[in-house]
Symmetry: C2
Subunit: 408 residues, 2 copies
Amino acid sequence: MDLPPSPLARPFPDLPEIDGVTLRAARARYKNWDRSDLTFAELAEGTSVAGVFTKSACASSEVEMGREQAKLGRARALIVNAGNSNAFTGIRGREAVEQIMAQVADALECEPSEVFVSSTGVIGVPLPKGKARDGVAAVLEAEPCSWEEAAGAIGTTDTFLKGSTAAAMLGDQRVELAGIIKGSGMIAPDMATMLGYIFTDAAVEPVFLQEMLSKANEETFSCITVDGDTSTSDTVLAFATGKAGNTALSSWEDAGADAFYAALLDLCRDLARLVVRDGEGAQKFIEIAVTGAASGASARRVGLAIANSPLVKTAIAGGDANWGRVVMAVGKAGEPADRDRLSIGFGGTWAAKDGQPLADYDEVPVAAHLEGHEIRIDVDLGIGEGRATVWTCDLTHGYISINADYRS
Amino acid sequence: MDLPPSPLARPFPDLPEIDGVTLRAARARYKNWDRSDLTFAELAEGTSVAGVFTKSACASSEVEMGREQAKLGRARALIVNAGNSNAFTGIRGREAVEQIMAQVADALECEPSEVFVSSTGVIGVPLPKGKARDGVAAVLEAEPCSWEEAAGAIGTTDTFLKGSTAAAMLGDQRVELAGIIKGSGMIAPDMATMLGYIFTDAAVEPVFLQEMLSKANEETFSCITVDGDTSTSDTVLAFATGKAGNTALSSWEDAGADAFYAALLDLCRDLARLVVRDGEGAQKFIEIAVTGAASGASARRVGLAIANSPLVKTAIAGGDANWGRVVMAVGKAGEPADRDRLSIGFGGTWAAKDGQPLADYDEVPVAAHLEGHEIRIDVDLGIGEGRATVWTCDLTHGYISINADYRS
């Protein structure tokens, strides 16, 4: 299915070169298509790595192995297969991953555990070893490619290419961050529900890189949802080559750590929001800000209950300020809430305060806001200080068409 | 919106008269419509009552008060308002309920706490007291009506009338049960997610009636979902008039208790499944049987994760045996599961066993099964003895049309 670009698409930005990272792409032809579908990022010796992975109980071999590899903290290569997720493929799936790791490790003269593999696409079909072997051989010989080409090669049903960049000053040392991401359906936040890759030339110790990535994930990738369905393959990896030459960051006390984290957080947030902008069938981008909750975690769960409600999502699709459905979603979230302290607004206009519709509620600005593509919902629970912002998209006929017509 | 009957509709059955129950209906005109929308069931003195209610943190006054009234165990009347849920209406909403209770109690010379009130419809608009007062006055004077008329009067967006019956022998004493139910959207199982009313002429002590209703609810109303959205008003009440003259049932040890429970369970299951058959936009009725789970509760949660997955529901809508999406839903359920022991089948044909697609999987009977309106999905987790069956419907363009066009 060839879909037009999402109306919420953003142009692919200029991403800086990251010293220590070389990108290549090749055609493994995992599906019957003529496009690059095997991506290779070669990483300088000494590169630190951190990762966050799906919590699915049915995770793919790539995820299971990647989780263990990330604990070792070192990476020399990333391989991404597009068109086949290799999930639910048993021992044959695992063998395909091990073959790729061995083949790349042999070429780079590194440990197989330093080769990270991701796969995305159909579930339940073992990754064909022959195509993988030929594809890896080709990509090892390929010319370096651009960020844009790599972002295209990792995509599947994505309707636009997604990348972002950030920079930070560590004292007077400037470091660069760049990231690419794919994802459009089966997006729900049980950590990071898509494939995303972040590269930086900063020197960061692996344990601290993991701590920062996990923290950033909590308020970025874990705060988005398209359809509430958590993938078996979700992975976000961050690679730090150290080529900028700064003293390696190893704790929050280090000069520049806060600046680096701020840049990483910005980058993660931007990448996460780009995935929502490519949500299957999405016509509207929805930001839901929850305040006054019992805690931050509680606020996030309330926000996600709203963001995952098909009745809220269809109301927004229809341009209907149906705050009754927001009340319903708050009520079902299983979190502390008090009906009589609840306030709800759209686009900056409160529709209900303290558990009742406002007598002087002006629907005109709300209706105008809901005509647009960028929707804001405010929910104040009125019982505490917890707050969170989550992002989702509307639920449209496009989602049904994409998913009821798509054949496995 | 006037919708055609669901393709999954069932004809309204012949329901027996229940001694001690008199039904009446009237036009309160809560909406701009010309139909009965206020239903009154008068109950004989000595009627026992039990109830299960939504766990929503934003429940309506009707639910909050009904929960307390049910603990007292006695009922003389049920009033159901259709077209306005009176939820999220603050003190004004509560006053409307109290007015109705007082008005009916006055006419029947009973306690206000013996008058149960339910309301269903739009959220956030206080039930108009004047219309309620006139409507109650009219219904108190109305001629008795049939089960079918009462089932129609409690409905809102329902596309067909839903009722069911069962009988049990308590020794040589036959007792009758009859139930009516409404619901089609905002259906998710945080107990019983719609309005349902069960009447029997059996004599049952209130505490034991509550125990049996709660138990039956666990494997019937709590095992259905249309859209994962839990209503603010969900209520199921069971009334036992005692007119059959049996010795009142008070424990599982009593002769006939098991027979009565079996009939009650059948009735609840049938009513619950009828709600799914009227799911918004539903074209297919889906039964999901989960076996081999760590426990029964775990099996139910896995089943509901599958039943609530928009990707599974759209796959069924499209007639696609996409068991990869079932794997995904099992994985996200947050329950014990082992990818390599998981088996999945459609319509009695296994597609995958022990974590891998079957080599000799025959798609022909599966494709034929998925063409039909009655779909069966089997999932065996292979790790324990827990089992559960849940019911849902597919997710179609009809659901989007109904909910993106509906205006609050």
